[in-house]
Symmetry: C2
Subunit: 240 residues, 2 copies
Amino acid sequence: MSTAARKLFHQLSVSCKDCSLGSLCVPHGLDQPDIDKLDESVGHTKLLHSGDYLYRQNTSFKSLFALKSGSVKIVTNDPNVGESILGVYLPGEIIGFDGLSSEVYQCSIQALETSNICEINLDTLQADIPNIYKQLLKHASKAINHTQTAGSVNKANAKNRVVSFLLDIAERYQARGYFHTEFDLYLSRGELGNLLNLTPETISRNIRQLEREKYITLKNNRRVVLNNIEGLKKLNCSPP
Amino acid sequence: MSTAARKLFHQLSVSCKDCSLGSLCVPHGLDQPDIDKLDESVGHTKLLHSGDYLYRQNTSFKSLFALKSGSVKIVTNDPNVGESILGVYLPGEIIGFDGLSSEVYQCSIQALETSNICEINLDTLQADIPNIYKQLLKHASKAINHTQTAGSVNKANAKNRVVSFLLDIAERYQARGYFHTEFDLYLSRGELGNLLNLTPETISRNIRQLEREKYITLKNNRRVVLNNIEGLKKLNCSPP
DNA sequence: CGTTACGTTGATAGGAATCAATGAGGGTGG
DNA sequence: CCACCCTCATTGATTCCTATCAACGTAACG
């Protein structure tokens, strides 16, 4: 880690009330005493590098986590099917619900880039902050809604699935106030295909066609610029 | 409603501690005082008939619900895509998480048969029972896991999707102690196709082929008998 | 500079969608 | 009670989209 990076990292180890995520994370809706209590239960920021695991499938549940910066993928490994990528998490999103019901993580979380993550230990929270459970329940609810709509993407053809994915990422960045018309795809064509139930070849063909149609521009194959978000949305509204 | 049915209905209006669902529902993990508090927050059992809505998409969130008997489907209506069936709920499962994060139900719930449903009013629960939030969070977590695995079914071919659906229903009945090798499909071929991202014709062809192969037996087109669950599981493990 | 993994592009094959026709069941009204 | 209608299910023929197979290009890395 470079000196500059180290400095940046330390800046990120702040308390919940000073955290740049602000209302995007769990504390939203809590009053000051509750946030202070939350602070005590939130461990130091973890630093993950690309490829590092936050936790692995079939290990015992320890905590929920809040993604502070970077991005990670959530994957399951079923011996019959192989590795399935279920989605990606962006800053401000809560990770770990997959382990809550059975006390064993049902998925693995792997960093797609350098990422900072806060640990939310439910045991130390105890019953101290009832409101925080309400907040977590809301996050879980949002996760359910997102997973469900992501599942219905499978009804669309290949092109619309790719477009839906790009728009989904853009909207999630936008909802959190990030620049949303240009971002890195930290997933390879193969991983995108895995996520969208398509082959790498089909992903490539459709991304290239979107580029020929001027909807997007590619930089170095991994960075995508959305030139015409409204056009992309229309594409999805009126299937060919 | 017949006299017998009315009598049955009244029998079902019992308190949480006497409910036949027992540990399958929310109270699991709560102590007696908490269950008593829960009882106060649980409204009378609602009776729904086939086609009735428990709630409709885009209406404001009121409560979570516990399905006591019967079955319902959860659907979303996107003007671009039309109606999408996201899944079915069986007895002991919690309904309504889709409305929790935004305070507006994101889906509709429609009864597939005569069904009894308990209402769980979160407002009256307040902060009285911190543990209940823990329980609800676990239910939400389970829902996330289920939705995710259901989504990965879309990677399979048509036959395996049908098999996965049948096995999923069977396992959920079994987990709750119900007879699980014979049950009614309250979904039409078209609805099954909608749920599994296939056409009614494809559903029909695959169901009939499973019947020809003796894996299942159909009664009146809607009732299915699983003759060889182990065989069905093997089918899914080793795709052709 | 070779190696390796990833991405692109083309040709072909396969599986599900679509189109079309018939069959079966359930309810309604004559 | 039966004929009719309407919806759903089934089955076959054909089409279309994506997977598969194959070859080549490209970039990062030691």
